[in-house]
């Protein structure tokens, strides 16, 4: 074993964490090399001093606070409520014009759906499968658009970003279907103009990380997101849930010269985690 290899193992040797065979090799080298022996002795003294620093304990308040959080969560579980994240986002307010455009699109889709339904129902014999599929797709889009319009119009009544955060915090604590909560949070993530709201939406979505819809929404939103902070939160999320489908997005971001440097680094790091 040479000097470089020996020194690489000194920390573990001092701690007694080295495999027997390797430890023997390191000791053999130390017996033959004065420089490495000096290195070993001075590092040992330093480590001993470091480990001798007195331990300090936290205040009793820390335990009280953590236990209180656990008890609060237990109460919420017993009551059948989902305990919200400390700060949860509220869906957004869009300019009235966008709401109106969405409403117009919804009306057009509704018209198309009704007209198509009428045509199929008046056909003799079994309905055409392709047409039925198209209609199902159209209905799905209409439902989504209807949600967006309802959501948009609802937001016309809301105030500042803080109001929106507070609003979702309140709504999430009510016994609402999980799907509705996810819809609200995803809508906030995709549409809210406030980076703070979007950031909190990502945080709140951790509670629904098992949902494919949630993971897909974050994955799709990542390249479009303008705020590096929100992008970092999204990358953390996708890496934490080991979403392998996010690999292409991470790859692109990690090499995107226009992306924030911290985002590039985080994307590259996340890629190695997947």
């Amino acid at each position: 074993m040479n000097c470089a290899r020996t020194r690489e193992h000194l920390l573990e040797l001092i701690d007694g964490r080295l495999a027997t065979e390797t430890a023997a090799e390191v000791r053999k080298h130390l017996g033959e090399c004065q420089a490495c022996r000096n290195e070993f002795e001075t590092l040992s003294r330093t480590l001993h001093a470091l480990d001798s620093l007195p331990e300090v304990g936290p205040s009793g308040q820390l335990r009280a606070n953590v236990m209180a959080s656990i008890e609060a969560e237990k109460r919420a579980l017993r009551a059948g409520k989902w305990q919200p994240a400390p700060r949860l986002p509220r869906p957004i307010r869009l300019p009235w014009r966008i709401g109106l455009q969405a409403l117009a699109a919804c009306v057009l889709l509704a018209f198309g759906y009704l007209a198509g339904s009428h045509r199929v129902s008046t056909q003799a014999g079994p309905a055409n499968d392709a047409t039925a599929l198209q209609l199902a797709d159209l209905k799905s889009r209409m439902d989504s658009m209807g949600q967006l319009v309802g959501y948009t119009l609802l937001q016309q009544q809301k105030g500042s970003a803080n109001d929106r955060l507070e609003g979702v915090l309140t709504s999430a604590t009510l016994q609402r279907p999980v799907g509705n909560v996810i819809d609200d949070l995803v809508s906030t993530l995709v549409l809210d103009p406030s980076a703070n709201c979007r950031l909190n939406a990502v945080e709140a979505l951790y509670a629904h990380a098992d949902s494919e819809v949630v993971r897909t929404a974050i994955r799709v939103s990542l390249p479009r997101e303008q705020s590096p902070l929100v992008q970092l939160a999204m990358i953390d999320f996708l890496a934490a849930v080991r979403d392998r489908d996010a690999a292409p997005a991470f790859q692109k971001l990690s090499t995107n010269a226009l992306a924030d440097p911290s985002v590039r680094v985080a994307a590259g790091r996340a890629l190695t985690q997947l």
Partner: protein
């Protein structure tokens, strides 16, 4: 308590994930002291360390659904503490987080009492000052390597690097600490 105690931290955390929240209390009792001690040395501030420990366990509670079957609980906990420290610092200082080690650390040269500690000619004080003078990333890897529950593979998991890189970085950091420490000893008044 009728509930049987699971054998490992991992099993306890899996119980937490399944809704047995008392298991998190046990995990807190097992680990909060070491985590707090590490964070005090890392940040140099008790109050910050307490805030971070509290946030870590609250996040474990809140995001328990995301705990995965693989990996080490301890590594996950220290990884979370890195994230929490970064978030707390970002929120309190309204500054972008340049990197977790930076976020975890205070600025040694501005630390009140650093000079007084050095002048005290006490080895502990000198070592604390030497620790403060380390690059935050070096301090982080060195302090993580001193946690008995963490192997180098787990330190690497916390730092998101290879075990070999963690080992080399820890050795280099220890060398830096030694150099600062011995220099301070020489400079200290008799």
């Amino acid at each position: 308590m009728d509930r049987p105690t699971p054998d490992s931290d991992h099993e306890l955390m899996l119980s937490v994930r399944e809704g047995d929240l008392d298991a998190l209390g046990e995990l807190f009792e097992r680990h909060h002291g070491h985590l707090f001690g590490y964070l005090v040395r890392m940040t140099g501030e008790r109050s910050s360390a307490e805030d971070i420990v509290q946030t870590v366990f609250q996040r474990m509670l809140k995001y328990r659904h995301t705990y995965r079957d693989e990996g080490s609980f301890t590594a996950w906990m220290y990884h979370l503490s890195r994230k929490c420290a970064a978030d707390l610092r970002r929120k309190s200082a309204s500054l972008p987080a340049d990197g977790d080690p930076e976020v975890l650390s205070r600025q040694p040269d501005d630390t009140p009492g650093a000079d007084e500690r050095a002048a005290a000619s006490d080895d502990r004080a000198l070592l604390r000052t030497a620790l403060d003078r380390l690059d935050p990333a070096d301090r982080e890897v060195l302090l993580l390597s001193r946690i008995r529950e963490l192997s180098f593979a787990e330190v690497a998991e916390v730092l998101e690097c290879s075990a070999g890189a963690a080992r080399v970085r820890a050795h280099r950091a220890l060398g830096e600490l030694r150099d600062h420490f011995f220099k301070l000893q020489k400079e200290a008044p008799p």
